[in-house]
């Protein structure tokens, strides 16, 4: 099953390396990884997408949680989420194909952000499969360059979300509410 993890970590030199080398060292296969600032000063937020058995993903979560600079790790796979990815796609555009491309851009609610003599640069933001479809449709025109951010995720604010607006951790305490996700629960 595909899992989406959110990890918050101190924004210090080397921390990204600690996280990424952990995946390599423990032989976990990461599908996408994106990182940027969070709402907490000094704390970066990483979204990790990986395919794997639940047991392996549980290990990933626990091993990540063990890193001293990682403050929170959450598996949000079974939570309602907003998932977005941004892509910049530079596609070949001859005068006869321009309008066809522009039409696709309109249908996908993407934008043309740069126009060159022989190419167009398109920006699309959306769920990953929408980005994939547009990429698929643009491919025949000739994609010259592409940059994708990988997924970023936020848990939706639901009706019965304990008044936390879907926020899965609390920044005041900087303490996780659902980490470690270990098998502390009692079977039987």
């Amino acid at each position: 099953m595909k899992h989406t993890l959110i990890a918050l970590m101190e924004d210090k030199p080397g921390v990204l390396n600690r996280v990424s080398s952990l995946f390599y060292r423990r032989n976990y296969n990461i599908e996408s990884l994106s990182v940027g600032h969070s709402e907490i000063p000094g704390i970066s937020r990483m979204t990790i997408v990986l395919e794997g058995e639940d047991r392996i993903v549980e290990q990933v979560v626990k091993q990540l949680s063990k890193l001293i600079n990682v403050t929170h790790v959450l598996d949000v796979s079974d939570k309602p989420t907003v998932v977005r990815e941004l892509a910049l796609i530079k596609v070949k555009a001859a005068s006869r194909t321009r309008s066809e491309i522009a039409e696709l851009v309109r249908i996908f609610r993407a934008r043309i952000v740069d126009v060159g003599a022989t190419s167009l640069t398109i920006e699309i933001t959306g769920p990953e499969d929408r980005v994939n479809s547009l990429v698929g449709l643009l491919r025949p025109f000739g994609i010259e360059e592409m940059a994708r951010t990988g997924r970023v995720v936020m848990v939706r604010s639901g009706e019965n979300d304990d008044g936390n607006n879907g926020k899965v951790y609390s920044s005041q305490t900087a303490m996780p509410q659902s980490v470690p996700l270990m098998a502390q629960e009692v079977p039987m």
Binding site: R55, I68, M182
Partner: protein, 566 residues
């Protein structure tokens, strides 16, 4: 108080209660060494930085305190690597200091620059690169805290030379602020109740006692629990000493070279309570074949160990210091005499008893280890190396003393024993410390005999000299058509080498010389080396072939079946 970065380091170490540091100086730590003389710290100069790390590790394992080592940048730092990995695999609390080139030239491939924080990333619990002296007090405070709390482990602090020289106004923090470092809760009553219920219902329970019992200092609590519930205990290699081997409920070591009855008990158990062990593959065999009839309760301070190798039916994440006092009162005294007598019957088939009972004039290693045990009455800190010698020590020495065995379990580092024993002896000056090593491993850190002399460490060193990389040869004999490729080994005359270093040395070739030689070593106040020329092709029995379930043991010579190579 104004201090240089170098003074900050030593001042902070003194405040952490450190008394001894093991190391080798060099260009990038000259400021540190210069300031060292001003502080009440004993510096032990080793002959190779690997030994500094092993000595710090041995010191930590023998005393329960944090061991400290220091090395210069570049080659000094890389020489620490094996020692840090050894400490990491065995959860030993060590703090290592390395010098780094001045911060303006970091990243330029300066003379003796290596990226040691990058190199040691996967083999330390945490590490730091410090380029500003102001960061040092906090970093050192955190490093000691991280090294000794939770699941202990090594922490490395790399300090640029300019940060050692810079002056700061010194204040040592009282507390650490580590938002990403959480220790497990100490309240887990639902889990404890469930664990007690499962134990009380079990007909054939077994406790596995791992290194965690020793690291948490809960040896007495373990005995209390076992005695109350009449529950037999199997120890792991690093769990040896968690319970006295002679205790009627102690079944001894399990695993690849464990006792037959211990492995049978694990295989037939209906419940396993694992206390601070990580289900290492050398202990469990293939996980799918391990304890097929048992439900498993896994107690560990590190949540990541739960379910990593063997799935747990119940997990208790916590420090045994909290878990055992909560659990034992809920455990009922049950009559388990049927189970215990069943185990007793298995015990009578023990390969070890056969081997000891065998009448031979040959100088066999099992006899040597037994005689050392007799001479010490088990009151010694044994430090074993890696290979057959390690297994014979584990099998034939009857461990009684707490923290009575120090060995490299997880990494299996040849060359560990001598430097680790130096650390152990310096940490426990009044104790008897014995090294048991093979002729191969001993040559991997033989230079530390000089440290033994310089520091006047009264180690008793027994080399079980078989002229082979014996454990390798045994595998080749069993599983690789007896082709002894690369495992025939020549060595020096170890007794003469010892004498050259200034240590009395004896060569023992006859069985009849064993007891007098050991007595002579015991009687001397200083160090002594005994080179036992044992039967060259003696094997370790029993043995579980790699890939086999642990109840499938090769018990005796002549029963070798082809095993599967992993």
């Amino acid at each position: 108080m104004k201090l240089t970065g170098a003074q900050v380091v030593w001042e902070s170490l003194v405040r952490e209660g450190v008394e001894t540091v093991f190391g080798v100086p060099g260009g990038a730590v000259l400021p540190l060494y210069h300031a060292l003389a001003e502080y009440p710290l004993h510096h032990v100069l080793v002959r190779h930085e690997q030994a500094a790390a092993h000595a710090a590790d041995g010191y930590a394992r023998a005393t329960g305190k944090v061991g400290v080592c220091i090395a210069t940048s570049g080659p000094g730092a890389t020489n620490l690597v094996t020692g840090l990995a050894t400490a990491y695999m065995d959860s030993s609390p060590v703090v290592a200091f390395t010098g780094q080139v001045p911060s303006p030239v970091i990243g330029t491939d300066a003379f003796q620059e290596v990226h040691i924080t990058g190199i040691t990333l996967p083999i330390t619990k945490h590490n730091y690169l410090v380029t500003h002296a102001q960061e040092l007090p906090t970093v050192i405070k955190e490093a000691f805290y991280i090294a000794r709390t939770g699941r202990p482990g090594p922490v490395l602090i790399d300090i640029s030379k300019d940060a050692q020289i810079a002056e700061i106004e010194y204040a040592y923090p009282d507390e650490v602020h580590l938002p990403g470092y959480r220790l497990p809760a100490s309240d887990f009553s639902p889990q404890i109740q469930a664990a007690a219920r499962m134990l009380n219902e079990a007909q054939r329970p077994v406790i596995i006692a791992g290194h965690g019992v020793i690291l948490s200092g809960t040896e007495d609590r373990l005995v209390e629990l076992a005695e109350k519930g009449h529950i037999p205990v199997v120890v792991t290699l690093l769990g040896i000493g968690a319970m006295p081997d002679e205790h009627p409920l102690c079944l001894g070591m399990g695993g690849m070279h464990g006792q037959g009855h211990a492995n049978m008990a694990l295989s037939e158990a209906d419940l396993i309570l694992s206390l601070g062990s990580r289900f290492d593959d050398r202990f469990t065999g293939p996980p799918s074949t391990f304890a097929p009839r048992a439900r498993i309760i896994h107690v560990d301070v590190d949540p990541a160990e739960i379910g990593k190798n063997v799935p747990a039916d119940l997990a208790v994440v916590g420090d045994l210091k909290d878990v055992l006092p909560a659990l034992t009162p809920l455990v009922e005294a049950r009559d388990r005499s049927a189970w215990l007598s069943c185990i007793r019957e298995w015990r009578e088939e023990s390969a070890q008893l056969d081997i000891l009972a065998q009448e031979t004039d040959d100088l066999i290693p099992q006899y040597v280890v037994r005689q050392i045990w007799h001479a010490t009455q088990g009151n010694a800190i044994m430090v074993s190396d890696v290979g057959q010698n390690q297994m014979w020590e584990a099998q034939y020495f009857v461990h009684r003393r707490r923290r009575g065995l120090i060995s490299s379990g997880g990494l299996g580092t040849m060359g560990f024993a001598l430097p680790a024993a130096i650390g152990a002896q310096i940490g426990c000056r009044g104790e008897r410390v014995w090294v048991i090593a093979g002729d191969g491993g001993f040559q991997m850190n033989i230079q530390e005999l000089a440290t033994v002399v310089q520091e006047q460490v009264p180690l008793k060193i027994a080399i079980l000299n078989n002229g082979y990389l014996g454990m390798v040869r045994q595998w080749q004999e069993f599983f690789f058509e007896r082709r002894y490729s690369g495992s025939r080994l020549s060595g020096p005359d170890f007794a003469q080498v010892a004498r050259a270093y200034g240590i009395p040395g004896l060569t023992i070739r006859e069985k009849s010389e064993v007891v007098p030689a050991i007595a002579q070593a015991m009687a001397s106040d200083g160090p002594m080396l005994l080179d036992f020329h044992i039967v060259p092709e003696e094997n370790v029995y029993p043995m579980v072939a790699p890939g086999s379930a642990i109840h499938n043991m090769i018990r005796h010579p002549g029963t070798v079946r082809g095993g599967k190579e992993e």
